[in-house]
Amino acid sequence: MTAEGIGARVLRKEDKRFITGNGRYTDDMTMQRMGHAAFVRSTHAHARIKSINTDDAMKMPGVDAVLNGHQLVADGIGNIICGWMIHSKDGSPMNMGAYRALESETVRYVGQAIAVVVADTQQQARDAAEAVVVEYEDLPAVVDSLDALKDGAPQLHPEAAGNLIYDWEIGEEAPTDEAFANAAHVTRMDIDNNRLVPNPMEPRSALAHFDPSEEHYTLYTTSQNPHVARLVLSAFYNVAPENKLRVIAPDVGGGFGSKIFIYPEEIACLWATKRVGRPVKWTSDRTEAFLTDAHGRDHHSTAELALDANNKITGFRVKTVANLGAYMSLFSSSVPTYLYATLLSGQYNIPNIYANVKAVYTNTTPVDAYRGAGRPEATYVVERMMETAAKEVGMAPAEFRRINFVREFPHQTPVIMAYDAGDYEASLDAAMKAIDYDGFAQRRTQSEAAGKLRGIGMSCYIEACGIAPSQAVGSLGAGVGLWESAEVRVNAVGTIEVLTGSHSHGQGHETTFAQLVSDRLGLPTESISIVHGDTDKVQMGMGTYGSRSGAVGMSAIAKALDKVEAKAKKIAAHLMEASEGDIEIENGELKVTGTDKKLTFTEVSLAAYTAHNLPEGMEPGLKEGAFYDPTNFTFPAGCYICEVEVDPDTGVVSIENFVAADDFGTIINPMIVEGQVHGGLVQGIGQAMLEHTQYDEDGQLLTASYMDYTMPRADDVPSFTLETTVTECPGNPLGMKGCGEAGAIGSPPAVINAVTDALGIRDMNMPASPNRVWQLIQDNGMKEAAE
């Protein structure tokens, strides 16, 4: 343990370059003779392409090439894949429509790429892209998933009859039905989860380069998982074999899931660079980001909760229709299934659960994982139901939750997950105390005196992170293993490079990962560098999403450190003529217990590399690698409570107080964790109050800029009160659970429970925009009541 070790609030090492404008992002990279790409995109949500005329565009200044899907297919570039196979309840595999990087026959959403122009400058490329004439024959479009399932709905893909991708189930239907038949009370709700646009600050970008003499490609790209990108580009899109393709994800300015996936533009740039014989760069503008970054959420659900006479939950039944957009993005199939329905038990002891999920094609942007990915949708359903059921049976929401909490661990839910550790009551108590729950009634009276409506709502979330045990996910259909790799390279002078397969795009890995090493070896974080994001440097890795970099990525580092320590101890024991078991590592020194004999870590490292005096048979050097495959998911959990005041005249909701009590297990850097929670909360509050992706009936995206898509701003949120409770995760060597998504997962139901409490109503959809809230007040005749 050191001043910079586990638990220390070390300032972020990476911030100096970010704050001073010295970050190196993909769009900052330039190469000699670099050309710029611009995409010709569909302006129609659903249309047959009759012709693509590139004659005028080809003649424009600076234009090298105008390439389309016919050429792409002819060159053998593979269709875009979905990496998780889901089987419908009848056993049939999911129905996947063909998805090409450039579409030349039928476009299915506005913004879909049809052709790519490469020119000397970005402006020339855009000018030429505008000059490409695409002749369309309009087809009817459908944007809502429920409409898409109706008889006579426009059909998107011949492979998916009725637009149905899969009709999947989990849990036991018959016993669940039985629980409902015997229930003393049933709560039933229709619950929607609104579609979101991810909006990372840095738009997507790709720079591809082909070296003909080596037959070798380099791709700089805005990726959360460059190794997975290389694997997929090489194995499925036939761009190049892995040893001939280097993928670099340099500084990446936020991802929130949207940069996990392999997009048409990266494939097109890699393909085009060889064809035009020059490096090709593309950077999305904000409009393209709105139209083409994979969106998040978009569920329609019907949920039913069965209670016995003692208000214990006996059954939970959920039917969900998930809108996956016009095509299946890389992990889209897993989001509304294994990342969603497996969390429907919440923090509660529910003996019977049955969920049915239909995934549906519509003429909208593809939908995939977005911060929380399935778990926010599950938490929203569970926690809206818990709050409503409590009120219906006349119990305090906290008490109703308390009597249904899981209290014994491990706990096997009816939906796959085995919770390993937790103390749900502890976080509930911490949150209620922090928000002064008991004082709410008085605060409500004060608000009423001022003509305002006041409400309080809670959400006790659980999520599954540390994604994921490879064998388990493999059996559920995942196309990849979800372990992580690490390599600890000790230099001859005792400084250290840690190579990790995790990728940092805002999480602060350069700091927290160094803290782990500092903690173990007693070295300052300054002498520890974290290397990530380059397939030539790091051999293999699975990247960052699902709050996995701590629990999985750092566990791999811990395993590699075990090996480094073991070897260093052997060398030290040999040099100091002591027994290996007597060597301990402390403050950057290797000591013989109970004596004053010691060597510095630098001396031992140097000995490893001079190799003048090593134990018999030992190889020189001090460098160890490890792969860590988790044995289970981790289960961060907590309680969020939101208190709002509503202005009945305008419908404006203001969050007066928001408490988040989280159990993340071991925390490496509380400052960074708080930052992650703050960001997650703002995204969750954004979903609950502000953000709303809307299409018109023809499939045009109406909220395609910040003029209409409401991003949360600093003045939309209060100062948060954060509490932590700790139960260590027994599943990994560090006891960590993960904190990256919790805020976005737990907060939306807390907000909506508070708003419905203020309005005295049961049902409402997100976001709680002023107009919507005002309308609810009119409809329920509450304005007079408040006055």
């Binding site: 005249d649 502000l690 925009s769 005002w774």
Partner: protein, 266 residues
């Protein structure tokens, strides 16, 4: 953005000549509307004639009759911070302070804003309520004649706004309900006691841009209080309706903002 040629004018007549000589020229003031439009490739002027460096149309002057003359190229931040304006027309200074964000307020100008006449822009409410005069390189307009509809003004193609003159008034106040996304006005109500009586002008809500509320004005003439306007709303038939607010909601906001403006005005 398409390629364009940039010109910096140093006098108004200079600017007028540059505009005349250009193929398809456009005046550039703060660029806070024009540049984003060009970046979206929705406008493609061959030439841009920058007005921001013309000394004669910049700055704020308190004139002998007490009126305030604001040069067209004066940015919103200067109006918000002007002690002269705060002293006599505090509602106008407050209004300027609600426009956009600090970047926008330091670049965007009153001339650009009124020439653009965005139906959700803030300034038109103040001009109409206060009976301001819009001066151009050719003539003068009353605010009533100047704003002719959504993004429409009485300006000729080649006409340059040079200043806006605000006569004295008392009890000025502006209450704005911002669009949650853009933070332009969804309903912005400017109230004032002017030489011609009480004035109430509304921006952001109407289908034809800024408009007055004669009923409210009459009520306020007799009784300058929030209660006087409490029961009055414009007809929802004339209100804008979009993703952020229905016509009925906007009509309600006009009432609420009018009440708040009056309450804040004394």
């Amino acid at each position: 953005m398409y390629e364009t040629k940039y010109h910096r004018a140093s006098t108004v007549s200079d600017a007028a000549a540059m505009l005349k000589n250009a193929d398809d020229g456009k005046l550039l003031s703060g660029g806070q509307t024009l540049i984003p439009t060009m970046k979206q490739r929705l406008a493609a002027p061959s030439d841009l004639i920058d007005l921001r460096h013309i000394g004669e149309i910049s700055g704020i002057v308190k004139q002998a009759d007490g009126s305030i003359r604001i040069g067209a190229a004066t940015c919103h931040a200067d109006v918000a911070a002007s002690e002269d304006i705060k002293a006599v027309l505090p509602g106008l200074a407050d209004l300027a302070g609600t426009i956009g964000d600090p970047h926008v307020r330091h670049m965007g100008t009153i001339g650009g804003s009124v020439a653009n006449n965005d139906p959700a822009a803030d300034y038109p409410a103040a001009l109409l309520a206060l009976g301001a005069t819009i001066e151009t390189n050719k003539r003068e307009f009353s605010a009533q004649d100047f704003f002719t509809g959504m993004f429409e003004t009485a300006l000729d193609e080649d006409e340059i706004v040079t200043a806006v003159v605000f006569p004295v008034a008392s009890n000025t106040a502006y209450a704005k309900f911002p669009n949650p996304a853009s933070r332009y006005a969804m309903a912005g109500v400017f109230v004032a006691k002017t030489g011609a009586g009480a004035r109430v002008a509304v921006t952001g809500a109407g289908q034809d841009g800024v408009f007055r509320m004669p009923d409210m004005e009459k009520a306020l003439d007799g009784n300058w209080s929030a209660d006087a306007v409490a029961g009055m709303a414009p007809s929802a038939d004339n209100m804008l309706s979009d993703l952020h607010g229905t016509a009925a909601y906007r009509a309600n906001l006009v009432t609420v903002m009018a009440k708040r403006a009056v309450a804040a005005s004394s």
